[in-house]
């Protein structure tokens, strides 16, 4: 199965317009304005997707589709929040949020939103897509995606199951409810869509994306080990993802909350930018751990954070450089203490001058007791990364 950047762009647009249709269906039905916040294409392991549902305590409605393309769609949301909306569909549902009526209302909600989502795809692909009846899955009690991903996953040499997920984040006005729509097309359907929309050139086997994705995970593991060694606090990689997003959606991954950390530039094939960010509390704890028992002034704290940024970046990027058999140089870190989304905005904007979409790498490292969380965002130059991946694919053959 090959994927080319042209297909990814088309996928991204399709997923976005599908999500707009889903948002429109919900707004029309409930009278609550709904927006599409982010549309991403991700190569994830099945475990990553499952873990996210678990950690966010999300319940899901699943709908299968077949016809022109086949696969599964999943609407994931917080049950308590969504039940409030469902009351419009099934009056009285909100009185018993855990009850049968609420569940059937949620299924109906899934039906309407996912139906709208798939209509968007069918229109664009000029095909017809039939949908199955919705299934409600409480991921807390029923657990896994195992049965639902079915043949939409593909197994890597490493034994990890990967999925190509189209992830859309929807939000109702005043941020009352957030929805995530996942679409997991079957292996064959990804090929079908690629053939319909893709160009001949720039094609990269999807296995290359997944091996790059594994490299990123290894880089994140290395960064986590380095953080543990420096701070003496056990940490683990919570998330590590490679996604393909419209460039303007990159800063929207972060909120208005203040973040402290460093921004660095990396040079080589690929070049790009990286931000290592902590929330205020995490930054304090990390700096304290580096200077135990010391009364550190702000300048010392700042240099401690810079030092951590340096080490984490090296750990994170050295792995790819080795695997890509290239040299990636790293600039000195610039200390930042600012609005989270504003920190990433100039990085995305620099790249936006030459590319419409971006490969976004985002990883989160967390200690067991939640003492700190460290978020890593890396934005490699799109065409240079593609060049590096081509190299990797050529060598694999």
């Amino acid at each position: 199965m090959n994927l080319d950047v042209q297909s990814l762009r088309t996928f991204s647009r399709l997923a976005h317009s599908g999500a707009e249709r889903a948002a429109g269906s919900l707004s029309q039905l409930t009278g609550v304005e709904t927006f599409v916040n982010v549309t991403k294409i991700e190569v994830s392991t099945r475990q990553d997707v499952e873990r996210e549902f678990h950690e966010r305590d999300l319940v899901t409605v699943h709908i299968g589709f077949n016809g022109g393309i086949d696969g599964r769609t999943v609407l994931a949301f917080d049950r308590a929040e969504a039940v409030e909306l469902v009351d419009v569909l099934v009056p009285g549902a909100a009185d018993q949020p855990e009850g049968e009526m609420a569940t059937s209302g949620l299924k109906e909600l899934g039906n309407i939103m996912l139906g709208g989502f798939l209509d968007g795809w069918a229109d664009h692909l000029e095909t017809s897509i039939d949908i199955t009846t919705p299934t409600f899955v409480d991921t807390q009690t029923e657990g896994t995606l195992e049965d639902i991903t079915g043949d939409s996953g593909f197994q890597m040499a490493t034994g990890d199951d990967h999925v190509l997920a189209f992830r859309n984040q929807l939000e109702t006005s005043e941020s009352r409810v957030g929805f995530h729509i996942y679409m997991l097309p079957t292996h064959d359907s990804v090929d079908t869509i690629s053939n319909l929309t893709g160009g001949e050139s720039d094609s990269v086997p999807i296995e290359t994306f997944t091996s790059f994705s594994s490299m990123i995970s290894e880089g994140a593991e290395q960064a986590s080990d380095d953080l543990t060694a420096m701070t003496g606090m056990e940490s683990a990689v919570e998330v590590s993802r490679l996604s393909f997003v419209p460039i303007e959606a990159v800063p929207m991954q972060l909120t208005d909350a203040t973040r402290k950390g460093v921004v660095l530039e990396f040079m080589g094939t690929p070049s790009g930018y990286i931000a290592i960010l902590f929330d205020d509390e995490s930054a304090e704890k990390v700096a304290d751990a580096l200077m135990p028992g010391m009364e550190a002034d702000p300048a010392m704290r700042q240099s401690a954070i810079q030092e951590i940024g340096n080490i984490v970046t090296s750990g994170f990027i050295d792995g790819w450089a080795n695997a890509l058999e290239t040299v990636i140089e790293i600039s000195p870190p610039t200390y930042v203490d600012d609005i989270g989304s504003a920190i990433v905005d100039p990085l995305a904007t620099e790249l936006a001058q030459a590319q419409e979409y971006a490969f976004l790498i985002d990883s989160a490292i967390r200690t067991e007791n939640d003492a700190f969380t460290c978020d890593i965002y890396a934005l490699p130059n799109e065409s240079e990364l593609r060049e590096a991946l081509d190299q990797l694919a050529a060598e694999a053959q």
């Binding site: 005043e174 303007e248 208005d256 609005i339 989304s341 504003a342 990433v344 905005d345 100039p346 620099e350």
Partner: protein, 167 residues
């Protein structure tokens, strides 16, 4: 693009979010917000007489043929203005306020400050549209989040460390 009508039965003032490479128009008691302006520029337009206001969050100065009009200063200003006129604003009464366009980092690979170029483009395009800029909070090396109050044209600028101000 987002357009909202004011709901007079709702006593809570509606806040509408404007994303990146996006714009919105509201009127009456409503407000528009946008967050995380680094080198991006926020262009706030308002007409006090009609109470119609619009806010754009542009990433780059010139579209050079790209069709995503809300992403670029030179294409979003005419689109925003038109959308305000459609909602009853009179172009002659429209005033502008600018915020954002900072230079947070100096990268080795970059060609000058995009923030500066965004602000310069905004001044140029607004001049071409004969809209006067009555206030600015631009440049520097910090990020900003904005809230525009449609009824007054007040633009609240919040930053992480440089405090809050209303222009």
């Amino acid at each position: 693009m987002k357009i909202y009508t004011s709901d007079t039965t709702n006593t809570v003032r509606e806040r509408t979010k404007v994303g990146i490479a996006d714009y919105g128009v509201v009127s009456g008691d409503e407000t528009l917000t946008t967050s995380g302006l680094g080198s991006c520029v926020g262009i706030a337009l308002y007409d006090n007489a009609s109470g119609v206001a619009g806010l754009a969050h542009a990433m780059l100065p010139y579209a050079n043929g790209d069709s995503k009009e809300a992403k670029y200063v030179d294409t979003v200003v005419p689109a925003l203005l038109q959308s305000m006129v459609d909602r009853g604003a009179n172009p002659r009464n429209v005033r502008a306020k600018l915020a954002g366009g900072s230079t947070m980092f100096e990268f080795s690979s970059t060609d000058g400050s995009i923030g500066d170029r965004n602000v310069a483009a905004a001044r140029e395009v607004l001049g071409r549209e004969r809209i006067s800029i009555v206030a600015e909070n631009v440049g520097g090396d910090h990020g900003r989040s904005l809230e525009l109050v449609a009824s007054t044209g007040d633009l609240r600028v919040r930053s992480a460390n440089a405090g809050r101000t209303t222009i």
